[in-house]
Subunit: 719 residues, 2 copies
Amino acid sequence: MTTADPTSPHPAWLPPAAFRAIGSRQTLVCGDGTLVETVRDEVARACARFGGTVQHSTGAATEPERTGVGARPYDLVLALRAAGSLPAGAAPAVEVGRELGPDRGGLDPEGFALARRDGVTVVLADAPAGLLYGLFEVVRLGAAAFDADRAVRVHSPALRLRLVSHWDNVDVHPVMGQVERGYAGGSIFWRDGAPIGDSDRIREYARLLAACGMNAMTVNNVNVHGTANRLLTDRLGDVAAIADLVRPYGIRVHLSVNFAAPVALDGLHTADPLDRDVRAWWARAAGRIYGTIPDFGGFMVKADSEGQPGPYRYGRTHADGANMLADALAPYGGVVHWRAFVYNHRQDWRDRSTDRARAAYDHFTPLDGRFRDNVIVQVKHGPMDFQTREPVSPVLAAMPGTRLAVEVQATQEYTGQQRHVCYLGPWWSEVLRFAPWGPGRPTVAAVVGGSSRDGDRTAPAGDDDRGVSAGGGLVVVSNVGADHYWTGHPLAQANLYAAGRLGWAPDLDPLAVLDEWIDLTFTPSATGDPDLLRGTLHALLDDSWRTYERYTAPLGVGFMVAPGHHYGPDVDGYEYSRWGTYHFADRDGVGVDRTRATGTGFTGQYPQPWADRYESLDTCPDELLLFFHHVPYQHVLHSGSTVIQHIYDTHFAGVEQVAEMVRRWERIGPAGLVGPALHARVTERLAEQLRSARQWCDTINTYFLRKSGVPDVRGRRIH
Amino acid sequence: MTTADPTSPHPAWLPPAAFRAIGSRQTLVCGDGTLVETVRDEVARACARFGGTVQHSTGAATEPERTGVGARPYDLVLALRAAGSLPAGAAPAVEVGRELGPDRGGLDPEGFALARRDGVTVVLADAPAGLLYGLFEVVRLGAAAFDADRAVRVHSPALRLRLVSHWDNVDVHPVMGQVERGYAGGSIFWRDGAPIGDSDRIREYARLLAACGMNAMTVNNVNVHGTANRLLTDRLGDVAAIADLVRPYGIRVHLSVNFAAPVALDGLHTADPLDRDVRAWWARAAGRIYGTIPDFGGFMVKADSEGQPGPYRYGRTHADGANMLADALAPYGGVVHWRAFVYNHRQDWRDRSTDRARAAYDHFTPLDGRFRDNVIVQVKHGPMDFQTREPVSPVLAAMPGTRLAVEVQATQEYTGQQRHVCYLGPWWSEVLRFAPWGPGRPTVAAVVGGSSRDGDRTAPAGDDDRGVSAGGGLVVVSNVGADHYWTGHPLAQANLYAAGRLGWAPDLDPLAVLDEWIDLTFTPSATGDPDLLRGTLHALLDDSWRTYERYTAPLGVGFMVAPGHHYGPDVDGYEYSRWGTYHFADRDGVGVDRTRATGTGFTGQYPQPWADRYESLDTCPDELLLFFHHVPYQHVLHSGSTVIQHIYDTHFAGVEQVAEMVRRWERIGPAGLVGPALHARVTERLAEQLRSARQWCDTINTYFLRKSGVPDVRGRRIH
């Protein structure tokens, strides 16, 4: 379908044109180390294309020789403050450095200061990673970085760990394929049990991640089976090869591991975390890994979850399990990401007393304070499973003595599988800004940034800083695959970009992030109308998550998807299953009673004010009504509409919005603004989105009309 | 789980003990040819075990030498009438032959006469196959064959072609696996694209088929892909190897072929059945096949069905397509099985005017009279797809100028997948005895036997008889796999046995057939109580199909199964899908209006009296009510119950019946009567059946309670 060059992937948000402003100027890079060399090489590549120059001073105290240009000063200086004295042409940088001054305290190891003074744009950092992130900030600013003067501004990431989790299988899984919940072709790492060996692509991926602010990745699925186990042992070289490729972009490699690896790999009779041999096995494994990959990040574990092995089997707690791995990694500064996604996946739907939403809280909060400092308990953003709408997980407000990470899903498992446009930035932004203890109190971002606990999560820079300070950061399930556009749907690139940016700065406006992504990604041709392009992309993306919500499961009730693959509607698909995801629709009403008064009591897992706000029909937000309450179809929402009429209205509206997206996209035409191949790919996906949205709309509306018998007050056709 | 010897399959209905009566006696076999040698070898094998003797006269006119026994007459004579004069010890056989006399007309080529006179049991046939079937009739009779005198009785098959259709894939299909809809392990023929090469097993299988009356098989899935295409060309040797193994048991091999094979295999630009090159290609293919397999049976084709290629693509009819293949096979006497399973599998559920039940009739009846004599149009027994309950397909009464076969499914796709006990003999018996034109008029068995057309479908015996006489016979989708018990569930063996027996004699009582199967299969130990065993097996099997019907989709509405794999309930699983299988349940009622008055008009495809009987609520049988009518939940059935109360009652009753089956099976104990491994296997499957039946019951009842709001009058727990 696409005529794009299949041999090189789409440049995403780093096309050559994004470096035009830098590449045409005179740049000085000062400092030592791999990441500084990356900065220099990035600038040099841009200069080779656009005619600028780059000088690199590796820390000698003398002025570097300048060649090829006159005596005029540098346009851009990117310098480590420890790199020694700067040349005369970089005088404004010296001033900025003085202004920052040692008395102001060290910069974050990933932070940087940015200013423009006397015609020189200055980026200063105390550690190489900061210089790299500073470079990409200048790239984002584009020509504006070289306009008027800018006061000094210090940038540092709000979340220390910003990790992309790949659910890539090493072997092909008989049901899940090469990438579990992957909608962008094969894996960029693995094929049929072996590395693909496409070094260029992995390097390019690391570059994209760094440019949006990510600093870590797992390279294999959290469900670990077959060959993937051996990444710990005889296939460790495959991991090291990836680590070597991504290291220059400040990306650390983590591994998903199987809790029963000692049994699976070496025939130990147990994986009991308190067993001496098991502990020794993991200690040896860690030693071996760090001997090969000195900056290895750590382990991610899905234990006692959906059939995966874990400590419960041995009568141990999740703290026992996680701490055992943490002890193995501690000597080397590694961390354990221990997933809180633990629930009874063999629930009897007839048992109304069990509520899957309660599970993570019930399993984990009793263990608060019992995890090692290098354990991160990784909590899905909602209590269920990456639905289009859920409340924020109460676990995030209930473990003050534990490092917590929040996990979001860029891969669109439940949000259109990269066939639907669904920009998730606004959703993640809501989650990160959510204040579990009420307005003015710490947000989820503060919790996972560590600042809700100690007031200042910033640790001093240092060699042994391996992210073991407080706060567990952000984990993003990757939406990337071997597809030419990386993400199947070209517009789904925006989700990965936004995840990185919101991890760095959770208070960013997600629509402003979208503007960044648009500016970087799309270079309007000379004949194109950039406002038309920007307007069209905003029209497609801005409200797309809420549009998707409108035509799918209503009012926070969730699921209603086809079992197994989760694409398309099946209202009762999970209603009589073992998965704990029910809506309880009958001829009178719909929704899950999770109140303390009459339901499962899940509302009681929240602190105030939410415990009461969710409990009461008067204060429960409309969009979460059916998550917390079972109500009659004629219940009147805060919006003034009845539940049943709201269902009809939003579903018809959602389809109409998709139809409008199709029209808007048609209007920019196949050529010119975005290139014919990309236009065609989006056109094809929009057609499928429209078909699927109609199927959702008609199925949901028909289902509820048949069940309720209440006609649409507007008399539209329901089947 | 089972401790049975994995190296040799279960003997099914041919354990050594089944030959005890024959093996301890003096037998004379007279005649020439492969099948006669098979008869001799079968008797010899029995004699080796039980101490009897066998003499074989190969047609010389002299008395064969007798060794090892005295001068007393034979106990059993199996003789071709053309085999020449019989020895003195076989005098009663001569008398029987005289009584049959040439003036009585030749026997059917597969027929035989059986009598017992003067202490000699006599089987006479005019062709070798008859002798083989006669032998197995004697096996069935057991000791009774050697009791009192028996008058001469001529046996001949009611249906000429009795074919087992294997949906075995040659390559493993990524979704369907090695055997499509197979529930008994892998294929007995193929594994991962190559023959398994288990000659013993294939020979044993042919023996089982012959012993129940089958005479043909396809060896590959009707969905033909990948390597299976090449069975026509460079992998033809694999087919010939199978043909060689099954030939001694009178089984002919047929092949499923892909209509687009000329394109797929040889790059022809078309598969147009009127294209000269295409016709020549198939003619060459047929020539090649018959050069290798002289008794090759023919082709089976699924064309223009569920995505398979076919003549529609070229603007041709099914008659064009089938006749083209028929012309290629005609010089060699081969037949084409052309499936009538053609419907729109991309239906829009919102379109109420399309009715999948109508499809086969609408596609095929206009072509009546236009098919070659060696085309058999193969019609699924019902208009939908092998449901637990459907009306008989009206196509079977609507093509008087066409040879028709009826297709039934022994593999339990929709009837419990060989985890549930579901003896299908009574269901097939109903179908075969159904009289489309009313009582006293021809039955379905007569239609597919050819006697509804010409009054006497029996063709004269002859060398060139290749089954091209009228009537298309029975096609049975196999339930057999590489499982030790052949069929996964040991009791599912009874289905294959019954299919063969009902193909031979459709008027047999299916419970009498069950008795045959029990007597042959189970040899009670000396300590066992045979009445307990027989009683238990009848308790489990007799009513098992109706029991299964009770706890699954009610009143003929069909489906309500989980999409894809079709195991377990999902009431709305296909309700908003493209498959045309809907129930239209809403808060007021349920069912499909297929009347002429207000519905899809499907009732009009039946001749009288059924056209009117199905049309009217007053006369439509209860068990098909929801297939033909949409009725309110409070509609009163002929049984006196309302529809909704019937649903509750039958579902609770069905579960209770399964619970009773479990108790009955427990009572016969793990040892003794059936052997511990078989007992354990059945115990395990019954536990799953009980779990699944409860899931069905609770899901269906809850679904309809939620929808109708009508409580169970007996106040039982519905969730």
